[in-house]
Symmetry: C2
Subunit: 357 residues, 2 copies
Amino acid sequence: MPAKPPLKNDRLIRALLHQPTDTTPVWIMRQAGRYLPEYREIRKQAGDFLTLCKNKELACEVTLQPLRRFDLDGAILFSDILTIPDAMGLGLYFAEGEGPRFERPLRSEADIKALGVPDPADSLRYVTDAVSLIRQELDGSVPLIGFSGSPWTLSTYMVEGGSSKEYRHIKGMMYQNPAALHQLLQKLTESVTSYLNAQIEAGAQAVMIFDTWGGVLTPATYRDFSLQYMEQIVAGLKREHEGQIIPVTLFTKGGGQWLEVMADTGCNALGLDWTIDIDEARRRVGDRVALQGNLDPCVLYADPDTIRVKAQDIITRFGNHSGHVFNLGHGIHQTVNPNHLGVLVDAVHEFGFEIRK
Amino acid sequence: MPAKPPLKNDRLIRALLHQPTDTTPVWIMRQAGRYLPEYREIRKQAGDFLTLCKNKELACEVTLQPLRRFDLDGAILFSDILTIPDAMGLGLYFAEGEGPRFERPLRSEADIKALGVPDPADSLRYVTDAVSLIRQELDGSVPLIGFSGSPWTLSTYMVEGGSSKEYRHIKGMMYQNPAALHQLLQKLTESVTSYLNAQIEAGAQAVMIFDTWGGVLTPATYRDFSLQYMEQIVAGLKREHEGQIIPVTLFTKGGGQWLEVMADTGCNALGLDWTIDIDEARRRVGDRVALQGNLDPCVLYADPDTIRVKAQDIITRFGNHSGHVFNLGHGIHQTVNPNHLGVLVDAVHEFGFEIRK
């Protein structure tokens, strides 16, 4: 394999590692997504969402699209968080307008016992192939972020059979038969670890674990059923590859109350949603971890002047310190005007330079 | 009007007022609801949900149903949180399996300007009539709790036209035209205040404000667009009626990060969801307010022994102090086995007596 070119823009990696940068780096959750007309075009060509995820050329193309429009400091692999349960044989599909569903949800301990841990070199090969191709196409311009869902978050979909409001089945299992759920989470932990390591070997220069539904737990069940497994994953990841340190970011949506314990997992950075002020978060975790966030995605529905004011507020709150990656507090909404994202990205860099003067 | 009989069981009122009680009082959000077969029977008779809310005899009957089964320390008016927007003329309806919808959502400043503040003696008369009847039927057995949605929560439904995941329209308005939204919230504040006062005059012995969607805000927008209006309402309520103090409870779901400012509104008690430990909450608010909560509703899917353990955990965490009302952290789910609620209610009283020894 030819040596990979050095990074031309390493702000994102430096900020995640709490090293100084010239300005605040920015990338956006779901930056490759439906708010972009060019994405919708490719999506139409692909026919359906899963076909798009599983075709490395198309996945690479949509990963690169937002970088052509905006001065973003990172690319994120275009994929779905449910690739692992799909590889475990649960039969992922997307019902129009309904979000992800599984044909064969897990409802019993027997279902869980029967579950195998997929070899990423086999049934998840399409993901690592996409990573290699994207990394090649990026040609060192910005780093590529790999990702996975957290074991808890994956298990909610696997047990509920799709999205949920009440988490009846998974929490029923958690309270009634915790041992069965721990078995499932342990298998997922092994799988997420090997999956993220395969992404790192294929070229991901940073990885992020999305714990989208950790915030529906109690403090104690969060620690037992979500956090401890993320901690195991962090401990099992290759933190260095080809001489470069690979930063790891944990993001529990709705996890603002638990930042201290999250910072103790050994990760490099924490994602923040918008329900906590970033200065308050920084006070609580100190310099132990970098922070990523935390603009309310709905600010992008406002006019450019308001978007700039809100971006500046977050940068000012964080202050002239290392360790901030600007992002939204959740994925960008599909009905946002793409030009507004351009305004945001430029404002972050402008105010990021300014505060460092 | 004949004098109303004194309360035989005043534990709930005493706990809300931070006075000592013999055991921990308990009531359950949505205790009159679909998990009860006798409720489903009446609901079928009524035809649809709104007809049930608007018929005082039926509303009274379903309010009383859970009290016949369980040793609850309070009754809560059976009604909907969207009665005010309905009385404002937005055309509330319930699409099967879809939750509440409005025929005429508010989308412009002109829509908001045109909105009148309903006189509770007129278009909300069916609610106060139900309150009077329930109070009469309760005959002093336990106190009756009245309630309203918070201005912010009502406005989310009114602007979105129903339930929402992204809060695109309301937050778009909040960031783009905050003055328009403040106008709406001010009208709702006046309306909620007069509505709750009318419930108090009709016989409600405690009132609760449900801020179901306050948790989707940032700390600053929570204070500006939700909390300040609840504070105005608290200041405008009749806090004494017929010689009795009327306690006021605020509940912001997902508001665990903001308990201190909530406690500063002048309310008597705060509702807690399950994402914060009640001992931690108590440490943060001290004795300024009572606390109501905070069991994860999904615990009721577990076996009776587990339910007892989880109830005891919350009572132990709160400790031998006054000012705790046991409740779930959100409404009881419709698929719960009613017998499990009986186990919970009895366990709360048992462990509540024990801890006071």
